[in-house]
Amino acid sequence: MTDSKITVRFFARLREELGTEHLDLNLPEGSTVADVQTELASRGGTWAQLTGSQPVLAAVNQAMAKPATPVRPGDEVAFFPPVTGG
């Protein structure tokens, strides 16, 4: 089994509450955005909100993604709250 190293980024309220701007993660081949969320949520504490009741949006390589979106080695995955610009 090959591990795939991805970069995970966090923004806004998530970034602040997790105390983390970005981290690297090793994931099994065939992983999805949902797998990344579950893996990180299993750390417990504030990380549990990644699979909690508040909406968390995801992007893969700077394009909006769904839970089922595949994640490949070298990908940049981002999690953030609903956007509030303009």
């Binding site: 806004a12 970034r15 992007a59 709250p81 609903p82 509030t84 610009g85 303009g86």
Partner: protein, 148 residues
């Protein structure tokens, strides 16, 4: 053209650039958003704006492309500030030139509406009571959905 910047912008210069087009462009619609004192809470004294560099520009370019395919659009200019902003500061500018007034209005309003619900920006409001991250408004989502 898209600019994401900390610096303030000059609507006069942006308007002049939109106007300086081919003589077939007879309509220019613009929108400017400012920091107002009543956001999620009243008594707002300032904002902090965070964004996702790279993705923000891509999302906005997608909105400009969509507007250009739906309406007769000559030039489009989008500016969005990030970082610390004070009360009454300019936040965002969208300007569109077109041959037709209806197209200029529609493209300008579509880009503004869709930017608010799809471009990765996040506002943190400062008030007398402290600071908090702004929640997305259902009315903004409905407004964007109305364009589909």
């Amino acid at each position: 053209m898209i600019s994401i910047q900390q610096a303030d912008f000059d609507v006069a210069a942006e308007y002049a650039a939109l106007r300086d087009t081919d003589p077939s462009a007879g309509a220019i619609a613009t929108f400017s958003g400012l920091v107002r004192d009543s956001g999620d809470l009243s008594g707002v004294t300032g904002l902090f704006l965070e964004h996702y560099p790279g993705m923000t520009e891509q999302v906005i370019q997608g909105l400009i492309d969509e507007a250009s395919s739906r309406w007769d659009v000559r030039r489009v200019r989008v500016i969005h500030r990030v970082g610390a902003l004070a009360l009454s500061d300019q936040i965002v500018f969208v300007g569109v030139s077109s041959a037709h007034r209806g197209d200029a209005f529609a493209a300008c309003q579509f880009i503004m509406d869709a930017l608010k619900t799809s471009a990765p920006f996040w506002k943190k409001e400062q008030t007398d009571q402290g600071e908090h991250w702004v929640e997305q408004k259902a009315s903004d989502v409905e407004r964007t959905d109305a364009w589909t």
